[in-house]
Symmetry: C2
Subunit: 142 residues, 2 copies
C-alpha cells in the first residue's frame, strides 16, 4: 500500500516541454547526494526530496505566472506540488534527524535543465519503487 | 514611403509572454552602442540592428523547436525574422562601412530578458520613426 496516496500526477509529462522552453545553458542550483551502495534508495530519497523542493521553489520565482495554457511557471508549479506532496508524506522526526546528521554528504551542483530534470525524473522513479515496497527500514549513517 | 515594406509584424505582441517565460536572472549577450546626441537615431539603428540579429540568433539555439502553440523558440524565431527583414532593408555598402568604422563604440552587455527586450522594443520604435521620415542623411563619425 502506498503510504502517500498518489502524489505523482500526469504533470510529469510536461517536463519535456519545460526543458525545451528553458535556455539549455541556464544553470539550476541543486544540493545533491551521490548514490552510494551503503545508502539505501529510500534513505537517499529522504535526503534529495527536500532539496528538489527548494530548487524548484527558487526556479518558480524566476518566471511570471501568466494565465496561459502551459507556461513554464505553471509546469514548475505543478512539479513543485508533486515533490511537496511526496515530502509531506516522507516527513517524520526520524527522517529529519537522518538529514541533519548527513548534511556533510551534500554537494553543491548547478545543472543545465536537461540534467536537472533527468535527475528529478529518477528521483520520482525511486519514490515510485519506494511506494510499492513495504520494507522501509530505518535510515542510518552509511 | 517606407523603404522596407512592413517588416514589423504583430509577433512583437508575444514579447511580454516570452519575457515571462525566460528566467528573470538569465543573461543575454548583446553588443550595444550608447545613444549619443552626436549620433543620429537612424545611424544608431545601423549599428544596433545587426547586433540584435546576432543575439537573437544565438538565443534561438538555446531552445527546442517544439510543435507547440507558442514556444519560446517560435516567438524568438518570429522576432529574428522581423529584425533580419529590417537588416536586409537597411543593408548598403555605406552602412556597412559606417559600422566597420565605429566598432570601437560597441560595449559588451549581458542583459536580463526584461532589459534585453525593452531595448529590442525601443530599437523597433526607432526603426518605425525612421521608416516614416524621408530624411535619411548619411551617417558620419560622431
Ligand atoms: Ca494535470
Amino acid at each position: 500500500q502506498s503510504p502517500c496516496g498518489n502524489p505523482v500526477t500526469d504533470d510529469v509529462n510536461d517536463i519535456t516541454k519545460l526543458v525545451g522552453n528553458l535556455p539549455n545553458d541556464y544553470r539550476i542550483a541543486l544540493r545533491y547526494v551521490q548514490k552510494m551502495d551503503t545508502l539505501p534508495n529510500h534513505c537517499w530519497l529522504h535526503l534529495m526530496v527536500p532539496e528538489f523542493s527548494k530548487s524548484l521553489h527558487n526556479l518558480l520565482q524566476k518566471f511570471s505566472d501568466m494565465s496561459d495554457v502551459l507556461s513554464n511557471y505553471s509546469i514548475i508549479n505543478n512539479l513543485t506540488r508533486i515533490i511537496n506532496d511526496i515530502m509531506s508524506c516522507l516527513d517524520s522526526e526520524k527522517n529529519k534527524n537522518f538529514r541533519k546528521e548527513n548534511l556533510h554528504l551534500y554537494e553543491e551542483g548547478r545543472f543545465i535543465p536537461e540534467e536537472f530534470f533527468r535527475y528529478f525524473n529518477s528521483t520520482i522513479e525511486v519514490y515510485k519503487d519506494f511506494a510499492e515496497t513495504s520494507d522501509h527500514s530505518d535510515c542510518v549513517l552509511p
